[in-house]
């Protein structure tokens, strides 16, 4: 038998993954964190907590919280990407004449429309779901339509459905911006119910109960299967699961960081306040977020976080009072030097703001050249940049090239060498560029570390199969 040598020479000279000889204590966790093994870093610290020196514990707590923030950032991006892909997959299924009788297709198409914010479409689609659906899914259609209708401004029309006591209704109420208490009795079964209730428990400050519900939960199972055609199996994944999981990650970050943010002074305090504030902002808890960001001691921040905190605090006031052009110009001048802040600016453009500078032209130009400074940018920043550019509809082929420049060529899908956000951005750009095998390959590697990506894999594979027939050969086994 021939011994196959590597085809590409740099692979031959590439470093091999070191054996798992993790150093004890904080140092080992720091190393795992730098290698993007966030869950392992936390587990490492928790396993050794009793023997951890007292002086290391604040730093260890910060690392645990920061690892959750990194994970939440990843799942936030994955959630958005999964929603885009999921809707495209349902569109493909809906376009096939053979699928006309599959009741799950219009239902899940509506669910994904609601998830990506196409509320008017969701309203129409979910109103017309087939009568053959089970009562459970009819209820989901009603609730998700209510959420879409609420977002369209028809609050009264949505109120009755959103006031229902089921966990899903409560969760939708939370997404609609209202208060939502967890149900009095936690569900004993039902994956979605447990997950949604865990989010509500976290919001109510009952983290331990939430974690008890999450124990052993499998994020990768399909929510509905259709076997009406014996020649094929259709699987549907509710986008609310990914949505809920992203929120769980942010909630875990808040729970880990709040004691530090509220605790004694130290280098961890200000940073914990910033990241807890950021996490709360992502959860829609603006008031709590502003309090933390205002209370954070900015002296412990680097210039990146100082600019980001300044921008986040300013943006929090824009809901009550729209900024003037002069406000925006001053803020832009004071923050645009920091790439992290520029990416935050990109998230803030909405409504009438988009017609004002820097949103009209300056931001696009700055974004385009964001990575061109001399220093090698962190992979997470590159990933966020790629996702922001994709969000703007930039050419995916060019983005694949640009992002690939920052990927380790010899270890192209290894987390130790590549930030997960960079890999996810590459995956999304490849998908947009219709390079499905590349997107799936990267996604497959990511899914080895990050649970909950199976829905995205399945849907992307389905698109591949529909648009390029060969893709059907590679159906992902579940």
């Amino acid at each position: 038998m021939r011994a196959p040598l590597v085809a590409f020479f740099v692979v031959a000279s590439s470093p091999c993954v070191a054996p798992a000889a993790v150093k004890p204590g904080l140092e080992g966790a720091q190393e795992l964190f730098r290698q993007n093994h966030w869950e392992e870093a936390r587990a490492h610290l928790r396993a050794q907590w009793a023997s951890l020196p007292e002086k290391d514990r604040p730093t260890a707590t910060f690392l645990i919280g920061r690892a959750y923030v990194r994970e939440a950032e990843f799942y936030r991006a994955a959630h958005r990407f999964a929603a885009e892909v999921g809707l495209a997959y349902l569109d493909e299924l809906a376009a096939a004449r053979a699928n006309r009788s599959v009741a799950g297709i219009p239902l899940f198409k509506g669910l994904y429309q609601a998830e990506v914010g196409r509320n008017a479409d969701a309203d129409r689609t979910l109103l017309a779901v087939p009568a053959t659906l089970s009562a459970e899914w009819k209820a989901s259609a009603r609730l998700r339509r209510a959420l879409a209708v609420h977002r369209l401004g028809r609050v009264q029309e949505a109120a009755a459905a959103l006031a229902e006591p089921a966990p899903e209704a409560r969760f939708c109420r939370l997404l609609a911006g209202g208060a939502a208490e967890p149900p009095l009795v936690a569900p004993k079964a039902g994956r979605r119910e447990k997950l949604l209730t865990a989010v509500l428990l976290y919001r109510a400050g009952r983290a331990a109960e939430a974690e008890a519900l999450l124990a052993g939960i499998n994020l990768d199972l399909p929510d509905l299967e259709d076997k009406s055609d014996p020649r094929k199996l259709l699987r549907f994944h509710d986008p609310l699961v990914t949505n809920a999981w992203e929120r769980i990650c942010w909630e875990r970050a808040v729970a880990a960081l709040m004691p530090l943010a509220a605790g004694a002074s130290g280098p961890e305090k200000g940073l914990a306040a910033f990241y807890a504030g950021l996490s709360l902002l992502r959860l829609g808890a603006s008031e709590e977020s502003v309090k933390l960001l205002q209370g954070a001691n900015a002296s412990s921040f680097g210039p990146e976080l100082q600019s980001s905190a300044r921008l986040l605090l300013a943006a929090a006031t824009w809901k009550a009072r729209a900024p003037t052009a002069a406000d925006l110009a001053a803020l832009w001048d004071g923050t645009e030097a920091q790439p992290d802040a520029v990416l935050l600016w990109d998230e803030l453009k909405r409504g009438d703001l988009a017609k004002t500078e820097p949103f009209a032209t300056k931001l696009a130009a700055r974004l385009k050249g964001l990575l061109s400074s001399g220093d090698r940018p962190p992979g997470a920043l590159v990933g966020r940049w790629g996702l922001a550019r994709l969000g703007r509809g930039d050419d995916p082929g060019s983005l694949v090239d640009s992002l690939s420049e920052h990927r380790d060529k010899s270890n192209k899908n290894k987390l130790e060498w590549n930030d997960p956000l960079l890999l996810l951005a590459l995956c999304a750009a490849s998908y947009r560029d219709q390079e499905y095998p590349q997107a799936l390959e990267t996604l497959f590697e990511l899914s080895k570390t990050f649970p909950g990506l199976r829905a995205l894999q399945w849907n992307l594979q389905g698109i591949y199969a529909a648009r390029q027939k060969a893709g059907g050969e590679a159906r992902i086994s579940q």
Binding site: A3, L5, F8, P15, V17, P19, E31
Partner: protein, 391 residues
Amino acid sequence: MKQSGLLWALLGLGLGPNPQAPAPQPGAAPSSKALAMITRPLALRNVTATPDQNEANPRFSPDGRYLSFERRSGAAQAIFVVGTEAAGGASERISSQPPRGAASAEDALLGGARADDSYNAQISFYPGAPGFIFTGNGGSGVYRLYEGKLGGGPPRALTAQSKEDGHPAVSPDGRWLVYVSARAGIGKLFLRDLTTSAERQLTAGDRVDLYPVWSPDSRLVAYTSGDNDNHDVFVVDATTPQATPRQLTTWKYDDLRPTFSPDGALVAFYSNYSPTGEEKEWSIVAVPADGSGPAKGAALAKLVVAQNVVTDPEMGPAWLPWGHAVIYARNLKAEWNPIYAVDTETRGELRIETSTRMNHDLTCSRNGLLAFRAQVASWDDVFLAALTRTP
């Protein structure tokens, strides 16, 4: 074994115990003048002696005064250089990633997120070390060649635009650099005049060319060329533009990582041809460098000088600095990969007893030093020994 799992997996090599043809008894009188010069027992010195890190791939400077090795730390890898003349001297760390500014408070809490995470390897010294060229990625995914000097400032990229470059080899006369670049998608050899910086592509075609190495007279370059199915050994005259490479092997077996004998007459390489017919066993073959020898078949098989050897593609077979003898580790896992030397002319063989385990990466200096990697506890260290008291 803790090292290099990926490469072995890629190469599909077997490392399990495998009985060999009868080996000379330990301590038997060597049947060759070249082997008789080897001091026994060797006085070994562990030059790394790190209790919790792996070191690998030792390489000597041409004059033997310096020894480099590569040390892994997580995903990062740096090159270290130590003097060989005095024990206990400080090592110099070499990396393609320039020192960063002061870390932020957050970086500090996270253990230096801006720590050097670059990958560096394959150092090649100028004949009058302290200058050197090596492969590095600067902490990014782009592999380039870097140039530096011992005791000098941070190494700098040899060319700003280069990418996917590696396997640098400075010619013994210090004038030329040959290296591999996959800038056009496939690894090919490039020749750079180190005095004028002029470059030209040395090899063409659609096969991947790897592991270039210079003949002692700085005229020929031997290398491996092939694809996923098969690799052969080639030699090209680097001093003649448009020279056609000579193919030293043409058979179906994989032939990897050639090295020149000290006088340049022979080229030794690893081959997965095994006289015993055992799959996964590798041999060392020594052929005339001028292409006058057989390239295939039974005639080439007769030029096997060692069987069931441990292959280290980053290093290649190690020639003793005198005679025509190769020193190698035999693939006998149950005996911790013992070290042997073989005279390629007489086929006389000598087992060199050491107290080390899982020997790998053997290399010799021109002034008669031997360096190799071996395990201490569960970590790989680099060992150094004088092969003879009167080299």
